[in-house]
Amino acid sequence: MTDRIHPLLAVFAGLVFLFLVGPLVIMIGASLSDTNFLTFPPRGLTLHWFTHIFEVTAFKTTAITSLELAFAGTFLSLLFGIPAAYALNRFRVELPSWLSTVYVLPILIPEIVFGFSLMKSVTIDSGFPVWLTLLIGHALLVLPYSVRVVSASLAAFDFSIEEAAISLGSPPLKTFFTIVLPNIRAGVIAAFILAFITSINDVSVSLFLTGPGISTLPIQILAYMEQFFDPTMAAVSVLLMLLTVGVMAIVEATLGLTFLTK
């Protein structure tokens, strides 16, 4: 015997589901259409647009840039984010409470503002090369995910375990790698994935920081759409979506998706 679901709730939930999944279905459909314009439902079925992606060099080069930025940016954000999260939790009592908020600023302030201020300070005033500017931008953009998710793991970590290891003769830094890190591993993996997905899908921050000859895949999709309105964009979008789904599948298989939402 299960509880009865109110019919209105069922309708409401169904609509939400439809609005979430509908665009994805439309996009998949459009990517398979044998027409040279975007249309749904597809007319005829072809995989031509998927192969066409690889014929457009700009997609390939920007995809490589996007992957480089996502890996390097995420790595950098973890390199700074893990120690920051550690300090915020280990010295929670000693540190001022507003300090942890500083680390989430990149999500709190509008991305357009964030992107513009980076362009002004890093690109124009400091004259850094474009790729480096993009890297700094992406690392900062995803830093909040690294700090917050690793922090959530550390909040559940019992620091007396660390003290036990130190009392048994393990130096503090070694203790961090042999005792603390293995116990927040799940949080670090989750932070990596969230940061990676955020970086690879980012438009607004990248928009301000791209320069001559260097662009990211989402920006390239926008640029392509301004010139051509064919199903290639839908095909690229489907591939990006598959990448995200693939990453999620790995998370689900290893940690369980509930890990990301808690």
């Binding site: 003290e163 036990a164 130190i166 009392s167």
Partner: protein, 352 residues
């Protein structure tokens, strides 16, 4: 080789709050000393200073001939047992116990042999391959104990090690801790808020309050001869009666309680008695009588203890608690006199 722990005049602050005030304490070689007190009395701070997780603002800590005061925690060579066990969740029971040996660069075969032997001693030989998560609270604390003992530290420290266990297990474990500590002859510092635990396990107990040691002595002396009003109350002397000496002759004296009752005391029994003092007794130390020379009281609530009736009373000397015989029960509202039994009394200096 057993060594002594000497804490000399240490002070500690959290920010601008002073939590320890010039505290000195010596634990003799092979001795187990407990720090006993309510939360916030400074007992855990003292332990953390010795462990090296806090730095004193002044004073020194020595272990044998080593000065620990500025030594990093990982070089202090102290076995620590925590309240919440603090086992490494990602390592097997065997690897937990072997962890300290690994830090000491003992080769793997020898490490395993020693860790297994220690697990055997705490009765967990069959659990070597389990992860800590699969153990009960009592088993976890045994692993923690084995992990601290296997490095053969010159000093063992326990931070409320039994608080998370149920009552029956607490008694079993404290006997076990005492046995292992005795067998190894390891100098030990034990922090607890549980008086029975501290008294049963320790050679000496330091009763602490507000960052100071109020009295450091054997459990027997603390229980029977508290040195001050704080310790007296702590060990269950419910009645503290201010007295004034009226007459003295050859060490025999007559002292007056509030309300005029006179009490005969002998300095041969109590040592020198000042002109003003506090007479401390437990409820058992006051006889409840219908009349006679004693402190006149009005009886209040009567409760049944099995071996006696306990009376809440009010008097000019304040609220007193006394145990009366079962054969002669009084009723609430009755007038009676309380007569202190000198052999169950304690003489304290008046409180400032």
């Amino acid at each position: 080789m057993t060594v002594s722990l000497d804490i000399d005049n240490i002070a500690a602050h959290y920010g601008s709050t002073q939590v320890l005030k010039d505290l000195s304490l010596s634990v003799k070689a092979g001795e187990l000393v407990s720090l006993l007190g309510s939360s916030g009395c400074g007992k855990t701070t003292t332990l953390r200073l010795v462990a090296g997780f806090l730095t004193p603002t002044s004073g020194t800590i020595r272990l044998g001939d080593r000065d620990l005061t500025r030594l990093p925690a990982h070089q202090r060579d102290i076995g620590l047992v925590f309240q919440n066990y603090a086992l490494f969740p990602h390592l097997s029971v065997l690897d937990n116990v072997a962890f300290g040996l690994k830090q000491r660069k003992i080769e793997p075969a020898e490490r395993t042999r020693r860790a297994k032997a220690m697990l055997e001693r705490v009765g967990l030989a069959d659990f070597a391959d389990r992860l800590p998560g699969a153990l009960s609270g009592g088993q976890k604390q045994r692993v923690a104990l084995a992990r601290a003992l296997v490095i053969e530290p010159p000093l063992l420290m326990f931070d409320e090690p039994l608080s998370n266990l149920d009552a029956k297990l607490r008694v079993d474990m404290r006997v076990e801790i005492r046995k292992l500590q005795r067998a190894n002859g390891t100098t030990s510092l034990y922090v607890t808020h549980d008086q029975e635990e501290a008294f049963s396990i320790s050679d000496r107990v330091a009763i602490m309050n507000a960052g100071r040691i109020m009295q450091l002595d054997t459990p027997e002396v603390l229980y029977q001869r508290p040195a001050n009003a704080f310790v007296a109350r702590f060990v269950g002397f419910e009645n503290l009666i201010p007295m004034v000496v009226k007459a003295r002759e050859n060490g025999a004296l007559s002292a007056e309680a509030p309300g005029g009752a006179l009490l005969q005391l002998s300095e041969a029994e109590f040592g020198p008695i000042p002109d003003r003092f506090v007479l401390a007794t437990r409820a058992d130390g006051l006889l409840v009588q219908r009349e006679g020379a004693g402190i006149p009281v009005e009886l209040g609530l009567r409760t049944y203890l099995g071996r006696a009736y306990q009376y809440q009373t009010t008097s000019v000397a304040g609220d007193l608690i006394a145990n009366g015989s079962l054969s002669e029960p009084f009723s609430p509202g009755d007038r009676a006199v309380l007569v202190p039994k000198p052999e169950q009394c304690c003489i304290l200096k008046p409180e400032a």
